[in-house]
């Protein structure tokens, strides 16, 4: 075949035919090197793409941040409520009412017997006379009480369970039973029921927060998944072309996964800022309220480990959300 002479002799620059890839080093070494260079490239590339489209990116990040901040705020509220009520259960007390009309010496003996028990410490002993005095002073029932022939009030021994083991509801129930069985004791009443109710309520709220957190986590997954899906569809042609040029699936997947990761990370960071700002706004009023109740309570923000968990959750959700979208939609795009 006659081939006409070509202008320019630049043909020489063209290669010996086998393409030589990267200098020496083992296969594994070369792979590691490529990996070390491709990941930052994909990560920065994704970030750059988001940066060039700031309005849309910011909107997505903001939506994710709100979705993460909401359970975060509830969690913060719950932890603070638990902290505020934290001292209350140590005050689990049992009021032991002796039979009314017991003579004082007998009442004192019973009181001593209770005090001798190992499983309780006596906090206070109120004799029938003292009770009557208090009642008189408090209620202004002087005359009515005068009319009574004898003191209607019982003597009371207030005890606290000793040791830590005695504080479980079951142990407390057993203790009241035992105290009631003592001769001369009318009734032993646990002053803890309302605390139990409060804790049951807090437990319920905690469960509620968990459910809300799960729902919103699913929401974040969907938001990120959908964002990545739109991104994939927008870049359909680019994906086809890169596939034709010989890009592996991993290569094509990578920037989308990083985009999801960035969305999650930035969303979590913004959520953290929202929570910090919210705490700062509420700290003053909360401190005043606490002071009004004579408490030194302070509103706490997220602890370091909780902050870490928030960021991790954001990153994880971002990665999983984009992984789901990429898995579903990238495979469908083939050149042809």
């Amino acid at each position: 075949m006659a081939r006409r002479p070509e202008r320019g002799a630049r043909g020489r620059e063209q290669p010996p035919r086998r393409p030589r890839r990267r200098g020496g080093g083992g296969r594994a070494g070369a792979r590691l090197l490529a990996w070390l260079q491709e990941h930052p490239r994909a990560a920065l590339g994704s970030l750059g793409r988001m940066w060039r489209n700031p309005a849309a990116s910011l909107l997505t990040v903001a939506v994710i941040a709100v979705a993460l901040a909401l359970p975060g705020a509830l969690w913060m509220l719950l932890k603070n409520a638990e902290r505020a009520t934290g001292g209350w259960d140590t005050g689990a007390r049992v009021s032991v009412y002796l039979e009314p009309g017991l003579d004082p010496a007998r009442a004192a003996t019973i009181g001593d017997r209770i005090a001798a028990r190992d499983d309780v410490t006596v906090v206070e002993r109120i004799s029938a006379e003292q009770a009557l005095e208090e009642f008189r002073a408090l209620a202004g029932f002087d005359e009515a009480l005068e009319a009574l022939e004898r003191n209607p009030l019982p003597a009371v021994v207030v005890v606290e369970p000793a040791g830590v083991g005695g504080r479980s509801p079951a142990a407390l129930g057993r203790l009241t039973g035992e105290l009631e069985a003592i001769e001369g004791v009318d009734r032993a009443q646990l002053d803890l029921e309302w605390v139990e109710r409060l804790y049951a309520l807090l437990g319920l709220i905690e469960r509620g927060v968990t459910v809300i957190a799960l729902l919103l986590a699913a929401g974040v997954l969907l938001i990120i998944g959908n964002t990545i899906r739109l991104d994939i569809l927008n870049r359909r042609e680019e994906i086809e072309v890169t596939k034709l040029i010989g890009a592996s699936d991993a290569f094509i997947r990578r920037p989308f996964l990083y985009t999801g990761l960035w969305y999650g990370l930035l969303g979590a960071a913004l959520a953290w800022l929202l929570l910090a700002a919210g705490r700062a706004l509420l700290a003053g009023p909360a401190a005043r309220l606490a002071a009004a109740y004579g408490s030194g309570f302070r509103l706490h923000g997220l602890a370091a480990d909780e902050s870490g968990l928030l960021i991790l959750a954001g990153a994880g959700l971002g990665l999983v959300g984009s992984w789901l979208a990429v898995g579903r939609h990238l495979r469908a795009i083939e050149p042809g």
């Binding site: 075949m1 070509e6 290669p15 035919r17 890169t242 596939k243 034709l244 010989g246 050149p335």
Partner: protein, 229 residues
């Protein structure tokens, strides 16, 4: 380099696009693939690039049987070839340089080597001064040259072109073809699909011709085929 052995290709729900095609494009050769539109030129190229799979028969590229190549190895095979498209398939959101560098990025070249090779390829097609521009600002002929630079930047042993001059005037078409000839002269096997008979005649290169999905002429096997057996 490329060997078709009784290859049939049937698209679902359509007539056969290729029927009993056997041909052999030796390594280091350059050939034109001609035929009217619908004759099967694009299908034949798509089979080589593994955009489509052979329905029946065997197709070897680089002595690799494409019929049994697992899907995960397809990217590897595509990196052994460069493909030039009629409509360029450039990425319009990045510069000329980034477009041409893409195959090297995919192959994992380091940035120094990547820059050197990309600029060499751009120089080869005469567009080094436009490396910072966006493709949309270039003329059709220039965009096609960007496409060619991208197809050869990773120095593939095989170059495929599907109607690379389809939208260009004759002078530009000639220029583009001469570029392909230059690559062929340094050892690259080149297969150019075109319906421009005048152009193929002007270059006097071997011709493979398809008609109605069958091979009608094969200059590597001595000209006209199909004297019915």
């Amino acid at each position: 380099m490329i060997r078709f052995d009784h290859v049939n290709k049937r698209y679902p729900g359509r007539l056969e696009a290729l029927t009993d095609v056997s041909l052999d494009l030796p390594q280091g050769e350059m050939a034109f693939l001609t035929g009217h539109s619908g004759a099967g030129k694009s299908t034949l190229l798509k089979l080589i690039a593994l955009i489509e799979r052979v329905t029946r028969g065997t197709l070897l590229v680089h002595n690799v049987n494409l019929g049994t190549l697992p899907t995960r190895r397809v990217p590897w095979l595509r990196r052994q070839m460069g493909i030039v498209f009629q409509n360029h398939h450039l990425l319009y959101d990045r510069t000329v340089f980034d477009n041409v560098a893409l195959p090297l990025v995919i192959a994992g070249y380091r940035s120094g080597e990547l820059r050197r090779r990309t600029r060499a390829a751009l120089d080869k097609v005469g567009l080094l001064d436009k490396e910072r521009q966006m493709p949309i600002t270039l003329s059709g002929g220039e965009q096609q040259r960007v496409g060619i630079a991208r197809a050869v930047v990773h120095r593939p042993p095989l170059l495929l072109a599907d109607e690379p001059t389809g939208n260009l005037d004759p002078a530009l078409s000639r220029e583009i073809m001469e570029l392909f000839v230059q690559f062929n002269r340094v050892g690259v096997t080149v297969l150019v699909a075109t319906h421009d008979i005048a152009l193929t005649e002007a270059f006097g290169l071997p011709v493979l011709s398809l008609a109605g999905g069958r091979l009608a002429r094969d200059d590597f096997a001595g000209g006209p085929v199909g004297a019915p057996a």
